[in-house]
Each structure stands twice: as structure tokens, then as C-alpha cells.
Subunit: 346 residues, 2 copies
């Protein structure tokens, strides 16, 4: 492989439509980013036919044959024991060795997180890595974390997520001074959980006090009330899947409405160009690519069901975070946050 | 007031559009249910003009003048101290005294819960009352609880919610043997929180074992994977508001798409009858009326922003639960659940 500005390691074996959609996604990215090359890990017998089919540029990729792979339903603990020769392990290891600037995989989330933690290690000052993604809002987009890496979090974890989410938003959404909100419930009876109130107190007294806008509720995600929504992994996962489920329900109800009468069919046909634009804006593939932040390297989770367009978008996210030196950026922000250092001393 | 099959106590002062939409909602219900009468509490100077405007049948209601009321932003603790002569307190007290079979209010949720607990008391065997509602699914409807009464729950609370949710589903959605799921996250890395796993174990060994279908995720709400979704109040509130926010985002995006070109406008005009049916099916007012279950009496929370149609629907929910003797039903189910009695002995 020739010299290139950036090399992205690709796990070709992960995901529901692998390796087809993975290699097709690499082809999309190859066309879009002339300064990027790919280090592809997978079973040669399965992957090579798609490399041929999509005619990857021979000067832009290197293929590493890895007969083992991690199944999507494999337990992370089992994968850690037996998966050290898998495409996923070796792709992450390429980042550790400096052969690649980031890794992208549509495979088993738990194994990706466990392997990434083991191989890349957690950043100094960060106790728990988090999964961060971008979601559409009525205005534009927002950042949400954690989406499922940590079912239970304390105040310190939430404050770390706020710092990482702010840096991520800056890198990927290019916002200068992203606003931050802590996800909470608005019932007058209960003002949420202790750890959320404590995290709010720490953030109010921190260098991020100006960016921190206090508590937000989950319907504020759709309106984009803040740039960065911070929550524990259980709550984030519940909110994310509630949003996805509702969007799918609305689309199916709309299709149902469209087919109800001849006039409706004609009507929807006339409105098709507008509806297509809407669909494009809401396309989950556009928001594909969730980073595992807080690691000493860039590891990107693509959705298991991602198509080629979605996988290419996950590669975009990898490139944005590499170009913005997200890992270095978060490290520098952490250093400047004394309240966290103090906490650490305790 | 003449004899009647059922009397519903109405807090006319609660809600963003009170007392207008409350009295308009009572008028809707008066027309729909000939066997129901209303005991209305509120400030005469404010309420009487709307009783006149909507021409309530004089034989079907009794009005009680209550100059005090609880503000929507008042803290429940403050309301408990000063609100004992308020419309809300006296409307709930009418249920306690046996003057009404149920109470409906669009007012302050925290105050409604605090007053209801104080006045009506919690059912024997129930440690924490919960807020339960009905949500639309692609098939029909489902029941979700808790929606915000209890930010943190243990396994026993969740099992109690399952029992109450099942009885509620039977009464309001008329399902014979409602299926039950525990809301959890599906990440392979983390199978959720301890209390959820413990609650699942108790339910698997309980008389509800056949109805209990294990863990469900928040996107299963839209598909209606089970009849009853059980979760703590924090998570339930997050899921509910994520669903509401997404639905509003999709509707506004659709309106935006509709107005984008002349063809689109024409198209949406042709599809209008179908879209109206869809809107009707998704109308939040149709699902208005969240019961505070687990109390020794029926107390129904209507949305603060409910219109007349929504308030009338909350009255429907009150009637369904009264007619099905929900309180007695839950009590009988609790008695038959030995595993809970054993727990209680500990």
C-alpha cells in the first residue's frame, strides 16, 4: 500500500450484510475521500469476491486474510477468550500498532467495546468509555451519549461523557461552542436521580459552566434544544430505540395512509419528490457511525444492519474524528478540567 | 343531583386550558355516557361561565365552589401544606368519602400523586403507586407503566407494576390474557440492571409466568410486541417523551415536505382524507388519561395541555376502570400472588 494521509482499518466480517455492504461502503468512501486508504481484515474466500465485484482501487487498499471472526450473537466474554485471531481483533490491533488511524466495524457491539478497551486502553482521566452518536433534530442534528456501554453511571461518569460529547460535537458537527444538557425527567414530583443532580452541580462549577444548560427531557432531542445530550447508557439506549421505533411506526402508518384510496395514491405520487427529500433527511444511514469515545484510539461502531451508504457514513465519522484529533482534543480538555483531577485524587 | 350509576369528580381548575377545555370535555362525556354524573370543583366565578357556555345538563352535575387551587408549577410538598381547600384536594376527597367513583384532573401531576396517596392511601401489598397509560402501536394499543411516579424502583416494585398493568390492560383494552414485558436494553455487553433481572426471575416463577414474555426493548412499544410494558418511572418517562418528541418531529417534517412545491401541496390535498384518518389514530388526545394505579381509589391524570376531546377521553378511562372494578381486581390478583406475600413477610 502506498503512502496516504489516513489509513482506516475495516472489519469486513461484521454486520448482517457483511462482507457485501462493507466492501460496497468502502468503495463509496474510496470515491469520496482521495486521501484515504483502507486496511481490510476478513476471510479471503468470502471478501475477495466483493473486492472484485466493487472494483476497489488496488493502490488504495491492503487486504489481510483472517479466517476467524466474531459472530454477532457471541458473548463478549467468550469472544475475548477465543477471538484474538478474528478480523475484529486484528483490525483494532492495527490502530494500536499505528498501522491505521481508526477502525470501523458493523459487528458485535459488546465484542467491539471489550476488544477496544483491552487493545487500545482507556484514556487517562476517563473511567468509562461511552458510545456516542448523532441524531436528527427539527433544526439540524445533535449528539447523544452514552447509548449503551454503561447501564449504570455515577456523577463523575456523566461529567466525563459531557466533556467527551462536547469535543465530539465540535469535531463532527463543527460547532464552535456546543451546548450541553443532562437528560432528566420533568415531573414536578421527582427531579430525577441523585447522580444526575450531582453531575449538574459539578458541571455548573466547571469550565464548561457556560456550555451547560441544565436538565433536558427526551422530547428535547427532536427539537435539538441543546447540541449534546448526556445520559447513562441504559437511558440513552431506551431513548434511541424509542425514537427509532416511533419513526418506523410513523413511516409505516404513512404508507398505509398512502395506499388507502386511489386519490391518496395519486396524492402521494405528486408529493413523492418532497417525500424523498424528507426520507433522505431522516435516513438512519445518514446518522450511522457511533464512536466509542474515551479510548486511546478511534473505534467506530457501524449499525449491524447498515447498508453501503450507512457504512460509508461510518467511515466519514472515523475520518472527521481523526482529522480533528479527537483523542488528543479530549485529553487536553480533561487536563484543563481541574475539578475532575481533584475528584480523581479522592 | 339525581341518582346515577356513576359519579365522576372533576377538578375544573387544573390544566393549561382550564376551566374551558375541562368543562367542554365534561359536555362531550355527558353526551356519550347517559349513566354518568359529574361533581365539579372549582372557582365559581371562573367555572360558571363555561358551564353556561357549554350548557351542561343541570340534572347531570353538581358544582362545588372552591376558591383555592393548586398552580401547575407548585411543589407537591408546598401544595400538601397549603392546598387542603383546593379544587384538586376536595375532588380527590369526594372519592374517599364515596361521593364519587373516580377523580379526573389535568392539574399538577406531583400534587395529584401526593394528594391521592395521602387521601386515598396505597392498596395493601402495593409499595408504590405508578402512573399507567395507553400508547398507540402499529397493530393497536399497549399499556406502559410507570411513567414518572417512581424514578428508582426495585424488583418488587417492578413486579407490582406488572400485576397492576395486566389488570389495567384487561379493564381498559379488554384483553383477556395480556402479555407482559420488562423494558430493558438489548446490548450484548450489558443485559440491563440488576433489579430488572431480579424482577424477571420473580415473574418467571409467578402465576403470571405464562403472560410474562421476558425482556422487551423500547422500539417494541411501536410494534406492540407485548400488551403491557413494565419499567421504572424514570425510564418510562424518557421513553414516553422520546416517542412524543419524535412523533411531533415527523409531523412537522411532513408539513414542511407538503409545502415544498405546488405539486406537493396538491398531492397532500388529494391524500388529505387518509392523512386525517392517520392523524385521528395518532391523536394524543385519544390516549389521554393516565391512571395512578395502586391506590385505594381511582385517580386519573389528564395531560396538562389536553383539549376537550382529550379530557373527555380521560373521563372514559375513569369509567372503564370504575366499571371493571379495577381496584378490587388488582386487590384480588395481589392476594392470589403468593410470591409477593412471601416477599412481604421478609
Amino acid at each position: 500500500m502506498e503512502n496516504a494521509s489516513f489509513v482506516i482499518a475495516i472489519d469486513a466480517m461484521g454486520g448482517d450484510h457483511a462482507p457485501d455492504s462493507v466492501i460496497a461502503g468502502v468503495k463509496f468512501a474510496e470515491k469520496k475521500h482521495s486521501d484515504v486508504r483502507f486496511l481490510i481484515f476478513g476471510d479471503e474466500a468470502k471478501v475477495q469476491p466483493f473486492i472484485d465485484k466493487y472494483q476497489l482501487d488496488k493502490g488504495r487498499y491492503q487486504f489481510v486474510h483472517t479466517p476467524d471472526y466474531v459472530a454477532s450473537d457471541e458473548k463478549p466474554s467468550a469472544a475475548v477468550r477465543s477471538g484474538r485471531k478474528s478480523s475484529l481483533w486484528l483490525a483494532i490491533d492495527a490502530v494500536k500498532k499505528g498501522d491505521a488511524a481508526a477502525v470501523v466495524s458493523s459487528g458485535n457491539t459488546g465484542a467491539l467495546m471489550a476488544f477496544s478497551k483491552l487493545i487500545l486502553g482507556t484514556m487517562p482521566g476517563i473511567h468509562r468509555p461511552a458510545i456516542v452518536t448523532i441524531l436528527p433534530t427539527c433544526k439540524s442534528e445533535c449528539v447523544v451519549l452514552d447509548l449503551g456501554a454503561n447501564a449504570e453511571c455515577d456523577a463523575r461518569n456523566l461529567v466525563e461523557f459531557a466533556i467527551m460529547g462536547e469535543a465530539y460535537c465540535h469535531a463532527v458537527l463543527k460547532r464552535e461552542k456546543p451546548t450541553i444538557g443532562l437528560l432528566n425527567i420533568g415531573s414536578e414530583d421527582i427531579k430525577g436521580r441523585d447522580e444526575i443532580r450531582q453531575a449538574a452541580q459539578i458541571l455548573r462549577d466547571s469550565p464548561l459552566s457556560e456550555e451547560f444548560k441544565g436538565f433536558v427531557e427526551s422530547d428535547d432531542i427532536a427539537t435539538g434544544a441543546v447540541d449534546v445530550f448526556v445520559t447513562d447508557g441504559f437511558t440513552g439506549n431506551i431513548a434511541l430505540k424509542a425514537i427509532e421505533g416511533t419513526a418506523r411506526l410513523m413511516v409505516s402508518a404513512l404508507k398505509d395512509a398512502a395506499s388507502r384510496s386511489i386519490l391518496s395514491k395519486l396524492g402521494f405520487l405528486l408529493a413523492l419528490p418532497s417525500l424523498k427529500k424528507l426520507k433522505k433527511r431522516m435516513d438512519p444511514g445518514r446518522y450511522n457511525g457511533a464512536m466509542l469515545v474515551g479510548l486511546k484510539g478511534i473505534s467506530i461502531k457501524s449499525h449491524g444492519g447498515a447498508d453501503a451508504f450507512g457504512f460509508a457514513n461510518a467511515i466519514n465519522v472515523a475520518l472527521d474524528t481523526v482529522r480533528h484529533d479527537l483523542v488528543g482534543n479530549i485529553a487536553r480538555r480533561l487536563e484543563s478540567v481541574e475539578f475532575l483531577e481533584e475528584e480523581k485524587e479522592k
